[in-house]
Symmetry: D2
Subunit: 342 residues, 4 copies
């Protein structure tokens, strides 16, 4: 049994962390901080948690997490980097769901996020928390930087073919759709039901903060520079990332599904659909799963489709998967629930 | 550990039963029947169940459930009554989610369902499976008739005030809304996304099959005849029943919330919101909970609001709650998950 | 051809006014004001209007509407009452969609809206803009106070039976559901798609600002005091009001559909469904129509169901219907479009 | 004033044709056929049309359209080819919304649709009804084959750059999402609200009937063979096609928005968003518009985004646009309505 704290627990990744951790048999959630909601009972802000938790949000200024074994940050960017260094010095394990420790290129991070990074040495120390790529490093990490939602879907989709060296790394295209929860629990007109339902649109065609994170990871998989064209879309739904990926095959004679099978056969959360059905976000909603299929249409352009829940495999579930590795628990502990259907 | 069979496992109540039973620590699901899908793997029809179940649907003609301790029927009406008698004779426990054993008045049942009842003696033997009303009887029952979704919401809403004798039993009104999953997994044009989304309508204003079931139960609570005006609506969502109930108070000086508190204080699944927030179907989606509030506006008309998930507390979850009682398990075993939010 | 100005043109009622007025053959929209968006092109804020309008929003401080024949106010409450008096003095016609001139009882208005009314004499002068009730008075009005969305649905539903004297005016109940656009184009967390979709809830059970407006109108129809229990709900959709109304019949032998037929036979926008189908909000979405049916279940409680579009018949369309009457145009001019289906 | 008949008027394209034609000032709809609904009043099947039309569906076996000037076919594939030849011989104008006369390569058509084509000579005679490409030919056509919904979006998106010769025609990729109305008004489980809402999925990755139609059109624009990788998706909404297109630029120095501007400056229904906002399906819902933007991210892969309403510009509206050209009406007559917002 470990004790867990969460900083920034009032956003969508935060409440999803709470829900999942409350069901985890080896975890006790002991501290939740929120500047805006300090003093408010957690189950008053989130009535769905009634009966599951008997805590109130605390002011982060007053909380030092001495009694916690691990602290999750579910904060906006540029928050964790201020507080994490002290926790690391205390010897605490830290799992950051924000972007603060994801990008090795500090200059690039500062360009995209518009502030100076105050803990660059921790960026070096942080382990990128994609278990399918970095499992062993995560086990021994003190600080894990969890991937973003789009980067999780895109990297898991391209990884087998990039590692196998069978696609041109300069030809990558990702057309992705996200539910509106990906934009966070913030009051914006464009996210109102009245504005966002019954409509599809792209956004950020000319540039998105997740692009350098994806190129960094994909380049490592390829062993060389990659070029990725990334177009995110807002879909009229709450949860889910659907990614449709394209690349030029360098060898059209290959058994692509076999490559995916070899790559992912022991992964607890990757589900290959093998042409029996196509990945669909509702199959994975509320779960830590990632559904993937690969299809080779006539011609040399391969198509890979991926579905995850942006708040689980794309955020809080993946963070708990990392926690399980860091503490020697079974990797899927507390993450085995199946999607509610319909 | 008990062995469980499900007849008619391909509908929405059926797949929800599977999902919930797979997570139940004392249950092994061993047999699932479906005439239409015999031979098909369960996780092929319902990909969300991949990894959780390694069975195929079987033809009901070939399955006799000798190895099962309890059999659930998630079939359309007029199916269970044909098969249940033999199972009861074999000494099996049976939990029927359909309407076959709910109505004590056989003639009324035959009028509403348009067929002759072939097992009227079992109707007498069956226990109505609303634990908040019938807990002790369910414990020792061999055959449980689970309440319908509307009847669950309406009866739990009116019960405290009817039992306390503080409302006029001839003045009951229920205006209820259901998600489209309540109409079942059947291909009908009016249930298409293109027809049912972004719209509200009533249906069955002139009469609904659930009315006599409600009047039967409410009359017992009142100890006298009741008169209920019931208007169901189709809401543009998948899951959930929201019930808004009205009745004439016979004594306007009462502490209505106190009456609810007394009635439901030990109930594991009833959540009283006490004016802090209003019951909302998303708070209970995917869970066995029932949120209730009571408000007394100026005047003598009391308003009670209720939210349940039609497929869980209104069907499969309540059936498992009954199973837990019948087998001496903790009543909430396997039913403690919280709603996914957002 | 008349010239029209709109104050507060950036809310949902405002943009709907623009859309409808642009299609009106006798109207030229010449001035649109908005404090927040002054200087912004209208079709930049609302891209759906591209090609239809070549204006920018103007700062209300600079606009005096000298060149306008009629000015619409689509402002929050307590705005119009400050500006309308000067316009009335100039001889302009004014159509107010807000609550400022709806309630004859100034004290009640001040209680519900929490501010002092600065133009009580205009309240006396204003005509309540429900054409089915007040057609002749609207024709000659200088100032029209348009009904709210709930009051439109509830009053049109009860009017025939109240006027016919066949229901008990102290027994009225209205259970209504609104799409989220009814809450306006304002950035609130509870209106986000991620919060409001796939859920039903009541709100304001203990009191709602539209109640005194409804009771005022219903009392006039009844010729005596009425008692209304009103429960509004938020439905997971953008547009539409669905009202389900209940009342005690004082004479159960009556031809209720005949009473509605007599009352509404010449109304251009009331559609009686006569039991052939039930009123449904998608049938009227985007249109000025009001679908109504009345059903008499067994017993003495009559059920009336009503569907309107909250932004058209419940706001902007009804305002234009009033304008048509005030300027002697055909009542349905510019309002004859049919609902988009599906 | 012309007289119009519609064959197969009960599907979604059919009812949308009726709605639009009823608002067309030069059209009288005189005959509507449907095998399944013969004898049923049109406004009984589609209550939204009440007051707009006083006709019943007729059995196609009894209707010969002698009194019609033009006949629309909104039928499934392989229906029109049987009936159109006789109408053409009678001298009638025919506008077919189905696939029967779209593909010049009869063998390819027969492969994709699985039946022998019975009127190949009419395929040769038919004019492909994309006005932005074929305006003059449509004016004088007797038989117009309207483009499919995906082909309209994809062709309008690629046309300017293909005609300008600035993209590699062998590098085309289209990732498109459609609302569920694109699958028609047919009772299928996968299109139920309970199955299709709140989810995104691809379908037909391995091949889609619209692909040869797109390649045929794009090849003509390019003046050479093209290679298109096409992935359609089902989006959780009713209406709309959103297309995100990718291609390799052969000259990265070009003013891409200028090329689009030149190409589409006189088009009545193409709206270029020029980076001010991104195309969004709700901007065009219910209208004949096509919103397009082009963006050149760093690198040589151009991204084009397109939004149309699948039932209007992707079907019935475009068919009426063709009709206007064929009869010498103003091209946008009856098609000028703006999208309902929100």
């Amino acid at each position: 049994m470990i004790k867990v704290g969460i900083v920034g627990a009032t956003g969508y990744a935060g409440v999803e962390l709470i829900r999942l951790l409350l069901a985890h048999p080896e975890v006790e959630v002991t501290r939740l901080t929120s500047r805006a909601e300090a003093g408010v009972r957690v189950d008053r802000l989130f009535p769905s948690l009634r009966g599951g938790i008997d805590l109130s949000f605390e002011d982060p200024a007053n909380v030092h997490f001495e009694d916690c074994d691990v602290i999750f940050f579910a904060t906006p960017h540029a928050v964790a980097m201020n507080t994490v260094p002290a926790l690391i010095e205390q010897g605490k394990k830290v799992i950051d769901l924000s972007a603060d420790f994801r990008l090795e290129d500090i200059a690039s991070w500062e360009t995209w996020y518009g502030v100076a990074h105050v803990a660059p040495s921790l960026v070096e120390q942080a382990v990128y928390g994609l278990p399918e790529l970095n499992r062993e490093a995560i086990r021994s990490a003190q600080l894990v930087a969890c991937p973003g939602c789009y980067p999780t879907a895109v990297q898991l989709g391209f990884m087998p073919l990039l590692q196998a060296g069978v696609i041109d790394p300069l030809s990558l295209i990702a057309s992705c759709a996200s539910g509106t929860s990906g934009a966070g629990r913030s009051a914006k007109i464009n996210l109102l039901l009245a504005e966002a339902t019954e409509s599809m649109k792209s956004y950020g065609v000319s540039g998105h903060r997740h692009l350098p994170e994806m190129e960094q990871g994909l380049s490592k998989m390829a062993g060389s520079d990659v070029k990725l064209t990334f177009v995110p879309h807002l879909a009229p739904m709450v949860r889910g990332i659907h990614a449709t990926l394209f690349a030029k095959l360098t060898d059209a004679s290959l058994d692509l599904r076999g490559i995916f099978q070899t790559c992912y056969q022991h992964e607890p959360f990757v589900v290959l659909t093998n042409g029996q059905y196509e990945p669909e976000t509702r199959h994975v909603a509320g779960t830590n799963r990632c559904e993937i299929d690969v299809t080779q249409p006539a011609g040399d352009t391969v198509v890979i489709t991926v579905a995850i829940d942006n708040l689980v495999k794309g955020a809080s579930g993946q963070a708990i998967q990392a926690m399980n590795l860091m503490f020697g628990f079974e990797e899927s502990l507390g993450l085995q629930n199946l999607a509610v259907m319909p």
